[in-house]
């Protein structure tokens, strides 16, 4: 079986458009062959996740492409990286690591990437369009782009993303194809009452969904049409972590599921499952393995990066405390966000002074699970409002993690111990 290459592909592979494009397309075609795909397609936007794990290997690859004079040929955004690129020195990051992070950033920027440095690129100005073929890395962003925007992308592997950005070409496979976007698992939610309006419910649902469907495409029935983008973000991030969910449909909510039949593309599902409040309560509990009352070293919010609306919810929780209440001296309170959102809230009302007075620290360009916490000497217990962070942090940071609402995160930080009063199941 031979690869079908366009004249432009052949030109790139010959080296006529530079060594970076040649190497990049060579990697893409080898991968296509590995996956038994015989055709490439044009993509018109890329989000690069190769900034997410600082390793010598990562730096070698990106610097080699940059040294070869590589330039991206489509709008290309950057994921968060290991450190706050503007403030790492003040946050106690090892100078050698800081310098390596700076080199990686400089290499990407020299190739023409947009310095967004965020894992929530769908909240920026390059939100993808319905039906647009894009190539995104970062599993939560992939789930959001496919499910909520209706754009088309596979979960693009690290460093394939920059190869696609340098060539505008991707293997034609997976979720670019109509038939693979068909839901094969039908999920009926029953008797949930006002749980569907509770904070934390969507992360628990996502966690349960990921575990149940793996990499299959599910369609969910029984959620209200007023579900917010914040809720969908939490759901997708948790589902992409606990399983390999890259696309889900919600009847009456997401764009490829105006009806159940549309999501199923007129066919029968391979299986149908029904979940009740009790099933989802188990998923909620499964996200926590720190003990209630345990001394709390850190609260980590903003996984994925906090939006304006998520900051609003946090500010409300802090304002509900007696005046001048601060977080406990043993508890670090971190919020990760994008530069764009940080700039937006920096000038908004008194939010930054409120956060500062509480003892909260805002970081951008990075993730709470990377340098902001990973270099700390004492970090045994973490609390978060993120299903994704609750899933990954025990492995990434070697911590016991508790999952709770923002209000419980704030109250726990004040006490310096884990307090979980605010579960959706005791309302």
């Amino acid at each position: 079986m031979g690869m079908t290459l366009s004249p432009s592909d052949r030109e790139m592979l010959s080296g006529a458009r530079g060594e970076a494009a040649r190497l990049a397309l060579s990697i893409i075609t080898r991968l296509a062959e590995a996956l038994a795909v015989d055709e490439l397609i044009d993509v018109t936007q890329v989000h690069i996740d190769g900034c997410g794990f600082l390793s010598q290997a990562g730096l070698d690859i990106v610097e080699r492409l940059a040294d070869f004079g590589g330039r991206v040929v489509v709008p290309t955004t950057l994921n968060m990286g290991p450190m706050d690129l503007r403030r790492w020195a003040d946050q106690g990051v090892d100078p050698e690591k800081g310098a390596q992070g700076g080199r990686l950033a400089a290499a990407y920027e020299s190739m023409g990437c947009v310095p967004t440095w965020t894992c929530a690129p769908y909240e920026g100005y390059l939100t993808p369009r319905f039906g647009q073929a894009i190539a995104w890395g970062e599993s939560n962003a992939v789930a959001y782009a496919n499910a909520v925007c209706g754009a088309r992308t596979n979960r693009v592997a690290d460093y394939l993303d920059i190869c696609i950005a340098l060539t505008g070409r991707a293997p034609r496979s997976g979720l670019y194809l109509d038939e693979n976007r068909r839901a094969t698992v039908q999920i009926r939610l029953r008797d949930l009452g006002d749980l569907v309006a509770a904070e934390g419910f969507y992360a628990a649902l996502g966690h349960h969904l990921g575990a149940a469907v793996g990499e299959q495409v599910p369609v969910i029935e029984g959620l209200p049409s007023y579900i917010s983008n914040t809720d969908l973000k939490a759901l997708g991030a948790a589902a992409a972590s606990a399983g390999g969910v890259a696309l889900y449909h919600i009847v009456g909510v997401t764009p490829e599921a105006p009806t159940l039949e549309a999501a199923l593309q007129g066919r029968a599902p391979e299986r149908t499952v029904e979940w009740t409040a009790d099933d989802l309560k188990m998923a909620w509990q499964d996200l926590t393995h720190a003990e209630d009352g345990a001394p709390l070293d850190a609260v980590g919010l903003g996984c994925p990066h906090y939006s304006f609306h998520e900051f609003a919810r946090l500010i409300e929780a802090i304002r509900a405390l007696p005046p001048e209440t601060r977080c406990h001296e043993r508890t670090t309170f971190l919020i990760a966000t994008s530069r764009q959102t940080e700039a937006l809230i920096a000038g908004y009302q008194d939010w930054m002074p409120v956060l500062k007075a509480f003892g909260a620290v805002v970081v951008s360009d990075t993730c709470v699970m990377y340098e902001p916490l990973s270099h700390r000497a004492k970090l045994d217990v973490l609390m978060t409002d993120s299903g994704k962070c609750a899933y990954y942090s025990p492995g990434e940071l070697q911590v016991q993690t508790a999952f709770g609402t923002v209000r419980d995160c704030v109250l726990s930080a004040v006490e310096g111990r884990i307090l979980r009063k605010d579960t959706p199941w005791n309302r």
Binding site: I27, L31, A57, E138, A157, D158, S173, G214
Partner: protein, 146 residues
């Protein structure tokens, strides 16, 4: 003379290569990011059934990769540091792990083979078996005691 393999299975070579090692088999998928320590080869996903075991130099068989797309970087780094599995046997070829193996080859001139094996074949592998993978995708299995 080499003992005769207990079973010989035909797999599809995804990233072609030759490797041999002791099998580490799981029926659970795994995310290399957050699940595999590239500096030691230890499985660090505390929810995974192989948590605490070391996969460096082993022929690592599991259904598919999952979770974060950063998994390829973890695999490349582990290959660079010599702490990668000897080979991967997957029920469903994973673009993220395959790419890691291809890029390691392009960058460092060394890599690990990845093969795709059907469910029946996967079911016949067990931890401790001696496994050899050939460039054409042949998987030869010897009993762990031989």
């Amino acid at each position: 003379m080499e003992p005769i393999a207990r079973i010989v299975l035909r797999a599809r070579p995804v990233v072609s290569g030759v490797a041999e090692g002791q099998a580490l088999v799981s029926s659970e998928s795994i995310s290399f990011w957050g699940g595999y320590d590239p500096t030691t080869g230890e499985i660090v996903d505390r929810r995974h059934e192989l948590s605490g075991q070391n996969a460096a130099g082993r022929v690592f068989a599991f259904p598919h990769g999952r979770g974060s797309s950063t998994a390829s970087a973890v695999l490349i780094e582990s290959i660079r540091l010599g702490k990668a599995p000897a080979a991967l046997i997957l029920a469903t070829a994973d673009s993220i792990l395959s790419l890691g193996a291809i890029i390691a080859d392009e960058m460092y001139g060394r890599s690990i083979p990845i093969v795709e094996l059907n469910a029946e074949g996967m079911g016949r592998l067990k931890t401790g078996d001696r496994i050899r993978i050939d460039a054409d995708g042949t998987v030869s299995v010897w009993d762990g005691r031989v």
